[in-house]
Symmetry: D2
Subunit: 134 residues, 4 copies
Amino acid sequence: MIRFEYNTHVYYKDVDQMGIVYYNRYYEYFEAARTELLRKIGIDVTTIETSGYYLPVITSHCEYLSGAKFDDRLIVETVIRELPKLKLKIEYVVYREKNKEKLVTGHTIHVFTDKNGKPVRPPKDFLHQLNKVF
Amino acid sequence: MIRFEYNTHVYYKDVDQMGIVYYNRYYEYFEAARTELLRKIGIDVTTIETSGYYLPVITSHCEYLSGAKFDDRLIVETVIRELPKLKLKIEYVVYREKNKEKLVTGHTIHVFTDKNGKPVRPPKDFLHQLNKVF
Amino acid sequence: MIRFEYNTHVYYKDVDQMGIVYYNRYYEYFEAARTELLRKIGIDVTTIETSGYYLPVITSHCEYLSGAKFDDRLIVETVIRELPKLKLKIEYVVYREKNKEKLVTGHTIHVFTDKNGKPVRPPKDFLHQLNKVF
Amino acid sequence: MIRFEYNTHVYYKDVDQMGIVYYNRYYEYFEAARTELLRKIGIDVTTIETSGYYLPVITSHCEYLSGAKFDDRLIVETVIRELPKLKLKIEYVVYREKNKEKLVTGHTIHVFTDKNGKPVRPPKDFLHQLNKVF
């Protein structure tokens, strides 16, 4: 299992007229969180892409328990539980930093594709890096 | 069952460096689609809010089959299959207009809340309007 | 002079906790408006790009007079006043459809570049199309 | 003069199909930068709002010199040069951290309004805090 905490901060740009973060913005926080999780274990998205691979999302899912507000500091707990065969699943839990309230849970599922969008097996380097930390 | 087709168009703002619509933008298309579906059956989001209700999302979900591209015209087929008791589920299928390719499927689940975010039963007017078209 | 009216509609995704459209969203309306203006005079952004050109923004500017609100229908009046030599300037005025209130004025300035981002003269086809309608 | 450096990081969500940050995203970086500049001198946007004031943007402006790319670390140098009478002008310069290349310059102009959007003089506390650091 790989576990990582990404920290972010809510600004006006993300908050709607209910005074809470608009529902699709959490997916932007998830993207930043998984980019940093991968970097931390030695996997760089740009390197993946210059090697001829893409890692698009094939499933996205969120459960909203409570709304993050303007100026909230958030913790995005990001977890990979299983080594990917074809699909890579990443799970997220968003907490408000100051009171540790759980606000949102979610996950994304990814596949590797070539430049033409055809699904392919994960590159060996990727699996190698992942294996080292599991 | 209520069924509605919302049309939208992909601009640069939504497309990422893979040349496809960034994964969380479909949720913006879904929001526009459900707003128009509700309007079509006589339900106005502003009226809901001035009556003291909000209709936040509690679940969002997407499956990505193929990526929409810059300048694609999209059809967002939007469906309510069941009258809501507490939760309102809305389903979406996104097609590329020109070749009818299915690109994305998804759903959102909503609850009514009062101004303080406390879940409440759907307002009677809302159920009344929905009942008329089911 | 070329003049075009683009219509758009404000949804939740664009509205902030002041209850008005977040200030950078008008630039997304501008992008859609200029894409449609160009299409109307026979210029297709995708064709420009497959010919090896890009048309990035080098200046963006907005004056905010009054805030658009959720569910407002907007008219984006879009104007090209001068044939471009190196720079293409496009001007925008955003009106609320129902009361014709002027909400925002702005402009963007563009240059043509090659794939490497080097500024180049506008392609002949582009000038030809523009000349036809001026 | 008040000067502040805000650091941010470019993720996929901000990058378009030219492979550079979409032109309106810099305004989101500016918003975060000015929020943090104000916080640093003891001014909290939420406190402003709970005191009955808003601080909307009345002008936004950007000059784009070079495009930020995915995974770039950016420095947003943020400056207030003059004590506001009615209008508060904030200037921004965006640099790529690794090579100090200047990418974007811009500014925003703000006024204080009451809850109804009517322009008012800056609150005394705000001027007091600003005066202390000028």
